[in-house]
């Protein structure tokens, strides 16, 4: 039943493509570049974040005022504050589109689980970074979010108190709290680049940027939103105040909306459960090689007698699953006799796509369950005209 659901979702996702292709040329389809869009918004966030950082004062007394100064008195300060805020939402939307598309189009199976796991970590760290950003403004919303978070953390068994002290820089809100929040915003933002290295490491030529038309459109949209709905702080946080409601950014703050009905500890538990499920998604669909059919023809095998070390397979493999090593012994065929390098398939990365087989001019690679000679037989059978009927 789960597999049927996934199959329906896959079909629906690709149906979406047929509609998009009626309006846009195929190479402009934004759903082909969801990762690139996320990276674009991340870059915008970093640049606008650095500009904001120049003016931000991380202290209980100065935080709110510094943000107000930036918004009101710095030329275009309101613009880069707004761009930062809307780019964060757009970033999360792009990540979610990326997640769902790659989930529903089977791009997380087998050796691609590395990208999936690193992606889940990226999602969690990004969401956390977005959340701490809201705290930095130190308005009433930030105060309410802080108190709800403290309640949630306190309810964690055993380590709850310690978590609160780490979060606030002490048992309660104090002078080190806002510098701590700033650290919890900029620090995770920097770890995103380490996680991105992990995310890209098994891919050759990852599509890091969307096509220019989407860069233009996204930047334009951010500026339009910034002007139409300027980012603004709520009332300044008062010590001892207990604000009731706040304008909700659904992308980052939905667990806090749940706090209206659930104790904060349960909202936290729900988030943790969702993340844990997300982490195991690559391992939830187990299919035998027979069920996977053409997608599981066996990992590529190097026919060492024939490999000449030409490196064509190495350059064509989209998953960096082939390495060239210094040849330990000469090959058997004449072309391979003087080779300097030998191709080696890294089993943990091979997804059995066969692109290396297509690249090799020397019959030095095979997929075990679709051998070259069998393909040739089928081609010849198909190419020959049937014997004319004798009459």
């Amino acid at each position: 039943m789960y597999r049927r659901l996934l199959s329906t979702l896959q079909s629906a996702t690709l149906r979406l493509d047929t509609w998009i292709h009626r309006a846009l040329p195929q190479d402009f389809n934004p759903l082909y570049y969801t990762g690139g869009l996320a990276n674009l918004f991340l870059t915008i966030l970093v640049v606008s974040g650095i500009l904001i950082f120049l003016y931000y004062e991380p202290s209980l007394e100065g935080a709110y005022a510094s943000v107000e100064f930036l918004t009101r008195d710095v030329p275009y300060g309101v613009v880069f504050r707004g761009v930062h805020r809307y780019a964060a939402d757009a970033y999360l939307v792009a990540i979610l589109l990326h997640l769902f598309r790659n989930w529903f189009t089977d791009r997380y199976r087998e050796a691609r689980d590395s990208q999936w796991l690193s992606g889940m970590f990226l999602l969690v760290v990004s969401a956390f970074t977005g959340f701490t950003g809201y705290l930095l403004v130190w308005d009433e919303r930030a105060q309410l979010l802080t108190s709800l978070t403290v309640q949630a953390l306190q309810s964690v068994p055993l380590v709850g108190g310690w978590l609160v002290r780490v979060f606030l820089g002490g048992p309660g809100v104090n002078d080190t709290t806002l510098p701590r929040f700033l650290y919890l915003h900029v620090g995770p933002a920097m770890t995103l680049y380490v996680l991105l290295w992990w995310h890209y490491v098994r891919l050759r030529h990852p599509k890091i940027w969307p096509p220019a038309v989407w860069v233009l459109f996204s930047l334009g949209l951010l500026f339009i939103l910034t002007s139409a709905l300027p980012a603004a702080s709520g009332h300044p946080a008062q010590p001892g105040a207990s604000p009731e409601g706040f304008p909700v950014d659904w992308f980052f703050l939905w667990p806090y909306v749940l706090a209206r009905w659930l104790a904060p500890g349960w909202a936290l538990a729900l988030v943790v459960a969702l993340v844990a499920y997300g982490m195991v998604i690559p391992y939830t669909v187990r299919e035998s090689p027979e069920q996977r059919g053409l997608r599981a023809l066996g990992q590529a095998v190097v026919v060492e007698e024939n490999c000449t070390g030409c490196e064509l397979c190495y350059y064509d493999c989209p998953y960096n699953a082939i390495y060239m090593v210094p040849s330990p012994y000469p090959g058997k065929s004449r072309a391979a006799a003087n080779r300097k390098l030998l191709a080696v398939v890294v089993d943990s990365r091979c997804v059995e796509c066969g692109i290396c087989i297509g690249a090799c001019p020397f019959e030095a690679l095979e997929l075990p369950r679709m051998l070259d000679k069998d393909v040739q037989q089928r081609i010849q059978r198909g190419a020959r005209a049937p014997a004319p009927a004798t009459s």
């Binding site: 690709l14 053409l294 064509d316 989209p318 692109i355 297509g358 997929l367 040739q376 198909g382």
Partner: protein, 145 residues
């Protein structure tokens, strides 16, 4: 590189449809009910289609083998450009086919006998139409090397 065996083009008469050997990647067109057990297309027995795990799996030498063995034409159908399940397979295959076409024209073989299509899961009708048009085009230039 061998030229076509003697007599091959002579068997492509107007009455016999041109034989075509093609490759279809598993992620491209939905292939349930599309093929007979002997690899021929349902409804087009002169067209043989081998399903492959990725369009990038296809060797250019197989395409040449198809032409040398008597096929009037050969094609590879991959995923929509930009949506290859393996990210780059269809771009790589398109490059290989470009190179193959240039090589064939140097050998005085009509490069138009090798085609490359890119269709998605829901594009079965456009795919079948493209194959049929390809067959018609080959029929029109039948007899010409």
């Amino acid at each position: 590189m061998a030229t076509l065996p003697e007599g091959t083009t002579h068997t492509q008469t107007d009455t016999a449809p041109p034989r075509v050997v093609g490759f279809l990647c598993d992620w491209a067109v939905r292939s349930e009910g599309l093929l007979n057990p002997d690899d021929t297309l349902v409804g087009m027995p002169h067209v043989t289609v081998l399903r492959v795990p990725c369009s990038g799996f296809v060797k250019p030498s197989w395409l040449e083998l198809a032409l040398r063995s008597g096929a009037a034409g050969t094609f590879v159908c991959g995923c929509p450009m930009g949506d290859c399940l393996n990210r780059e397979g269809n771009w790589i295959m398109e490059d290989r086919i470009d190179q193959l076409r240039k090589r064939l024209s140097r050998q005085k073989v009509d490069p138009e006998r090798v085609a490359f299509f890119a269709f998605g899961l829901h594009d079965r009708e456009p795919f079948l139409r493209a194959v049929a048009e390809f067959v018609e085009k080959l029929r029109g230039s039948g007899g010409k090397r």
